[in-house]
């Protein structure tokens, strides 16, 4: 389906543009989700663990670990499936129904490679970066919520997070991000490419891309957790 690119410089330009769209374009939504996710998780963990026998830093360690292992990669990528996935599917779908894909083919360009490959590469590079940012901001959200509500101090949160930190957890999180990024970009490109008809079908492809990506993310979440943890 995807063959050797005709001219690498053009592909590199397109990949850089897609990296900007996927990375910088998603930064705001990822940051908002991460901060609130960390804040809410901190408050909920504190609510469930109120006991004189549980030290405050434990809250920090639970929030930090759950952000890294599950919340940051999975929740963020489910949101990215909606934002990035629908954008990719509708962009390629529109190119398909407006004959832009045919124009590429007639020029002798492998349209699959030209349209999908830069998006897939950009996704698998940028989504893990977004997940790292999401983990950091999630912890900051937790620190803020803990301090503001008087549940635990910033130092206690950081102490808990540092004590429970395992480099493998970060690696696991990045593996998940890489796999989810591939799912989002490839599934959405596929559905965009399968579009035929008009505006209505572009909408259908976009919806399908989001639904299939989300289901596959959840399925691979279970599979990766079972295999790697």
């Amino acid at each position: 389906m995807i063959s050797r690119p005709e001219k690498l410089s053009v592909y590199w330009e397109r990949t850089a543009l897609e990296m900007k769209n996927i990375g910088a374009g998603s930064l705001a939504i990822v940051a908002i989700i991460a901060v609130f996710q960390g804040a809410v998780t901190t408050l909920q963990i504190a609510y469930q663990l109120i006991s004189p026998l549980v030290a405050n830093p434990v809250i920090g360690s639970i929030v930090s670990d759950s952000s890294m292992l599950e919340l940051a990669p999975t929740i963020t990528c489910l949101v990215l499936a909606g934002k990035v996935g629908s954008h990719i599917a509708s962009e390629i779908g529109t190119m398909k129904v407006s004959e832009q894909i045919d124009a590429l083919e007639i020029m002798g360009i492998n349209s699959n490679a030209f349209v999908a490959l830069p998006k897939i590469i950009a996704g698998v590079v940028m989504v893990p970066c977004l997940i790292v940012i999401s983990i950091l901001l999630s912890n900051l959200g937790g620190i803020f919520a803990g301090s503001a509500s008087g549940i635990l101090t910033a130092d206690e949160f950081i102490q808990g997070a540092r004590e429970s930190f395992l480099p493998f957890n970060l690696a696991f999180s990045l593996i998940k991000a890489f796999v989810y990024a591939f799912i989002i970009t490839s599934v959405s490109s596929y559905h965009g490419y399968q579009t035929s008809g008009g505006a209505l079908e572009v909408g259908h492809s976009s919806t399908k891309a989001v639904v299939y990506s989300a289901v596959l993310i959840l399925f691979s979440d279970y599979l990766l957790t079972q295999l790697l943890l």
Binding site: S3, E6, K7, V10, T94, M95, S98, E99, Q100, D102, A103, E105, I106, M107, G108, I109
Partner: protein, 243 residues
């Protein structure tokens, strides 16, 4: 020259093209006319390789297009330009970037040389000063011209146009027709146009093929069209004048 021999195409057992054989000569405007559903678009898609014929051959200067390997197909495709009914300009690129795109992909030209070529192509289609505009910012007629400029950016030998006048007012339609004629004669291209605009037929057509229910129903010169005793062709021409 493009030669078609016994070209057939079926979809789910329904034969849409029923054995088309003809020749399209260089330096001439070859028109395929006929009512919607007559097989014109399928014929053109088979010729440019967007559809694979069920049977038959498409020969580009004796190169059997559908029997070539991938590399050879790409080589032939680089000699083909196409103007689409909906223009198919890349929305996210400016006019200049649209025309520059094939040059960037397939030539080793420097950026300055590419821009010179873009401007040359824009001059050929009598369109200047729109380099930095996006397709959404220009009129339908201008989009057609940009489509033609992009099609001729590389030194192509074969130009295909699918309904070049669709959606255009009569004045702009004539301008596009004249442009296609000028370019065909100047660069000695083999131009094939799908149309049901009879004005185009009588203005610029050299060789006319009338498609009816998947068959090549009539073929001849434009001077013969009016005098043909083919009933379906005459009915099509008469209906066109009452559109």
């Amino acid at each position: 020259m493009i030669e078609l021999t016994n070209l057939k195409k079926s979809f789910d057992g329904v034969e849409v093209l029923k054995g088309i054989s003809t020749k399209f000569e260089p330096g001439k405007i070859n028109l395929i006319i006929g009512a919607s559903g007559g097989g014109k678009s399928v014929l053109m898609k088979c010729m440019v390789g967007l559809l694979k014929p069920t049977e038959g051959n498409v020969l580009y200067d004796n190169r059997d297009f559908h029997k070539l390997d991938n590399k050879e197909i790409r080589d032939v495709r680089r000699e083909i330009g196409m103007l689409f009914q909906g223009n198919a300009l890349f929305d996210s690129y400016t006019v200049e970037e649209n025309i520059e795109f094939p040059l960037k992909m397939f030539t080793e030209m420097s950026p300055a040389e590419r821009i010179d070529r873009v401007n040359f192509c824009l001059e050929q289609v009598h369109l200047e000063g729109v380099n930095s505009k996006y397709p959404a910012e220009i009129s339908g007629g201008m989009k057609k011209r940009v489509g033609i400029a992009r099609a001729i950016a590389l030194d192509i030998k074969y130009l295909f146009c699918d309904e070049p006048n669709s959606g255009l007012d009569p004045v702009t339609s004539r301008v596009i027709d004249q442009l296609l004629e000028e370019i065909t004669k100047e660069f000695q291209m083999t131009t094939v146009i799908n149309t049901h605009d009879m004005k185009t037929v009588f203005d610029i057509g050299d060789q006319i093929i009338y498609m009816y229910e998947g068959n090549k129903w009539w073929e001849g010169k434009k001077s013969d069209v009016r005098h043909s005793n083919n009933e379906e062709l005459q009915a099509f021409i008469n209906a066109s004048y009452f559109e």
